[in-house]
Symmetry: C3
Subunit: 205 residues, 3 copies
């Protein structure tokens, strides 16, 4: 009676991670096609909303469960931090639409690819969390997420350097700079989740 509930947490985390990976894949496509039409923003909003529902399911399950697979506060933190990633992907989509960016830069394209890769690695990290035998594998994915976060950082620096050297319209500088920063925050959030998974493993070692 209790074990099925324990599995439920892993199921919910898997679903949250899958939803994020799908959103990141869609976001990458939108950047490549330069298509941030209202319909696409709405599609992303639905994914963000579904992510919210999953997060609240986790909290409700927590309230009804006596024995949890790891600390209650870590389950809560994991659900919240995963939601941050989805929020940032949705924010990026909204900002591209709102700022009427008709031609995303090469840097935005490269960053969206890094985001997609990072969320895929994160999906594996969370799947492996279910089974302690995969601890080594989980840690490898965490290392990969750290590497991707560094790559995102390097691209962002390059992008901002190029922006200040070439863009003369201050309003456009403001817009592009923010887009690069939200992209980097997105990979940062992925790294936070990876750190949290590492910390859960450390505590339950």
């Amino acid at each position: 009676m209790l074990l099925p509930r324990q599995d439920k947490f892993f199921d919910l985390f898997d679903k949250q991670a899958e939803n994020i990976a799908k959103a990141a894949e869609l976001y990458h496509q939108l950047v490549e096609k330069a298509d941030f039409s209202p319909e696409k923003v709405r599609r992303m909003h639905e994914m963000e909303h579904y992510g919210d529902e999953l997060m609240h399911s986790t909290i409700n399950t927590l309230n009804e469960t006596f024995i949890t697979p790891f600390d209650r506060e870590d389950i809560l933190a994991l659900a919240n931090r995963l939601d941050d990633i989805m929020d940032n992907i949705y924010l990026l989509t909204k900002r591209f639409h709102l700022y009427k960016i008709s031609q995303p830069t090469q840097f935005s394209k490269r960053l969206s690819s890094v985001i997609e890769q990072t969320t895929k690695a994160l999906q594996h990290t969370l799947a492996a969390l279910r089974n302690k035998k995969h601890m080594k594998e989980t840690q490898d994915y965490c290392v990969e997420i750290n590497r991707l976060e560094n790559e995102g950082d390097v691209i962002k620096d390059e992008a901002i350097s190029f922006l200040f050297d070439n863009e003369k319209d201050p309003i456009m500088v403001l817009k592009q700079k923010e887009l690069y920063e939200i992209a980097e925050t997105t990979t940062d959030c992925c790294e936070h989740v990876a750190n949290l998974v590492e910390s859960i493993l450390v505590k339950n070692n």
Copy 2:
């Protein structure tokens, strides 16, 4: 001898929440009257300073108390996160003064109203925390705070969209954008406190 001390934590949280709600009410008035004179900034600074004192009283009480109503680190986190809200309301006031904004926008007015409402809901949340019988009520206020945070988000998006479409002075874009962002951070901080209260309830269920 120990129970009075336990009450003291709830008293301090109530005072911190009351101080924040009063500051948010004052801030809303200042935005409506477009009055960010040095005297008003000073008045807000006093409230921020009083908030600091309350936070430090909580930490000192923690050091002198053996049995606490819930986890020591959660008491500390709650005191710190409440202080973040007060800091942001003070920051908003300072920035309006410093940026010499003589006419706050309709969006700033709407956001200041959302902030006032959110801090009032937060005051109820913290008051209800004292009594576990009110758990359902506390959760209802948390839901209300989440709703208000979403409302703040929507207003901010609208505000930034309007700003980029209509304001041609890049310096003014920079100023107004930051004011909208700090306003949103303020409701975000309220949501953090609500999440923390929820997590405390989950752990002490």
Copy 3:
């Protein structure tokens, strides 16, 4: 066999804090000399990389240690939050280079001095953590770090006020404002570590 490992955590924290203090001292010098040449950025990058290695050593030691001097998650948080400080000092250095700031302002100079002082106080805080007899001393350093963080705040406000009153080039406003903000974030991160140390003391009282 266990105690030497416990010491190892304190050794690693001391090394992380020392590395940060040295980086802050170098950063202060670079601002004063207005020298953000690629060689200097590279030197800072090496220090940032060494900080990363120390953080990962702490995590690995944690995985191999059964009894820790305080909560596993606090050790992890302390290592991560210390790393945030180093990251911000490196970010400041990179941004000065990338933004091609040939003449740091008086405000940047004052802020870099505050950062240097804060990291020195932090080094003492962490050294004192090793010995519970020094609890009073540790708390005094935490108070000093709070004072310095406030000082940084005041300088930043003054700097931004001066910037908006005197700088007419919006791109330069954008650049300088960000530099002031990262400087303030750096002292904020120091305050987070001080708060964390305080919270560790509270829990292990």
